[in-house]
């Protein structure tokens, strides 16, 4: 099943770095497709917020002539939320610790995003 395959990719991602605390795959219209999130996180809200932010990021990049969107990064006092397009149908949302090494995380995220994209496009 695709959901299981997505979860495998997410658990590889979460395992790849101690800095990544949680991750999820969300459809572009804001529905959860697969997730490895802490129990206290409201899945529906994470999904909807990911889709909203990604689409606003896309619009902003376009309006301000920054090209096509790769990623939306939100830095809070307690850590990062990173949203990355995973193919043309989904968003990969990652929660990372505040002292995370971003360069390394970005590599892991883009690898996972690519794997998800391949999986979802049936390649």
């Amino acid at each position: 099943m695709k959901e299981d395959a997505m979860k495998t990719i997410l658990s590889d991602l979460n395992g790849s770095s101690g800095d990544i605390e949680a991750s999820a795959v969300v459809s572009l219209d804001g529905l959860m497709m697969a997730s490895l999130l802490p129990a206290d996180v409201e899945e529906d809200r994470v999904a909807a917020m990911s889709a909203a932010l990604l689409s606003l990021g896309e619009r902003t990049a376009k309006e301000l002539a920054r090209g096509t969107l790769n990623q939306v990064l939100i830095q809070g006092s307690e850590g990062y939320t990173i949203m990355t397009e995973a193919g043309s149908e989904a968003v990969l949302t990652v929660l990372a610790k505040k002292d995370a090494k971003l360069g390394l995380i970005f590599l892991d995220i883009s690898r996972a995003a690519k794997a998800l994209s391949n999986l979802l496009s049936g390649a």
């Binding site: 459809s27 572009l28 219209d29 529905l31 909203a52 932010l53």
Partner: protein, 201 residues
């Protein structure tokens, strides 16, 4: 020079994005995505963050027009977008299983805001589905002590949408000069005018 923020909200497919496009003088900023749930059967795009357009009122005065997503999982956007709005327009899709309940849901979701800012209600898709009737909506609003403009509208019609905006603005406290809104022209037909107040007796 003044600028005013007006918010359009309401359930899926009620015509919020269409209304912002109908009213706006500039190309609308949309955040549409392809639906992957039940909405896919109705439409091939749904709003996930907001719509944005402007209405030029002349003399440098401007309305900033925002549309919300309709699906409840995007409720946090309703809360964000209503901030700073001077008025709210609720569009309800009559061609839905429970449109009266949807109106109630949106009245509840915006309960805090509509204590402070005026709102008007437009019922769309009445051409496709004549029931519930305007009278039923009117009774529901009256039962909740809301005396507000209520019309049957088509979100694709500029005249209908102008009427809804103007009717809402006419409820605004005098400190906002209605003069500023003279740029909105209105060609109302008497049968459009169905204020809940008048129907109470």
């Amino acid at each position: 020079m003044a600028s005013y923020k007006i918010l359009i909200s309401g359930p899926v497919g009620s015509g919020k994005t269409t209304a912002v496009s109908t009213l706006s003088d500039i190309p609308v900023v949309k955040t549409d995505a392809k639906p992957t749930d039940g909405v896919a059967a109705l439409k091939d795009s749904t709003t996930v963050a907001m719509d944005y357009g402007t209405i030029d009122l002349g003399d440098g005065n401007k309305v900033h027009l925002y549309g919300t997503p309709g699906q409840e999982r995007f409720k946090f956007m309703w809360e964000i977008l209503v901030q700073g709005s001077i008025g709210l327009i609720l569009l309800i899709n009559n061609n839905h299983p429970h449109p009266l309940r949807e109106l109630e849901l949106f009245l509840e979701a915006f309960a805090r805001s509509i204590e402070q800012i005026p709102f008007s209600v437009g019922i769309t898709h009445m051409d496709e589905c004549p029931r519930p009737t305007i009278q039923q909506y009117s009774q529901l609003l009256a039962a909740k002590k809301h005396v507000v403009p209520l019309f049957s509208v088509d979100a694709r019609s500029k005249e209908d949408m102008n009427l809804l905006v103007l009717a809402m603005l006419s409820m605004i406290a005098p400190e906002i000069a209605l003069e500023n809104f003279k740029g909105l022209t209105l060609n109302a037909h008497p049968h459009h005018l169905r204020y809940t107040k008048r129907q109470r007796h």
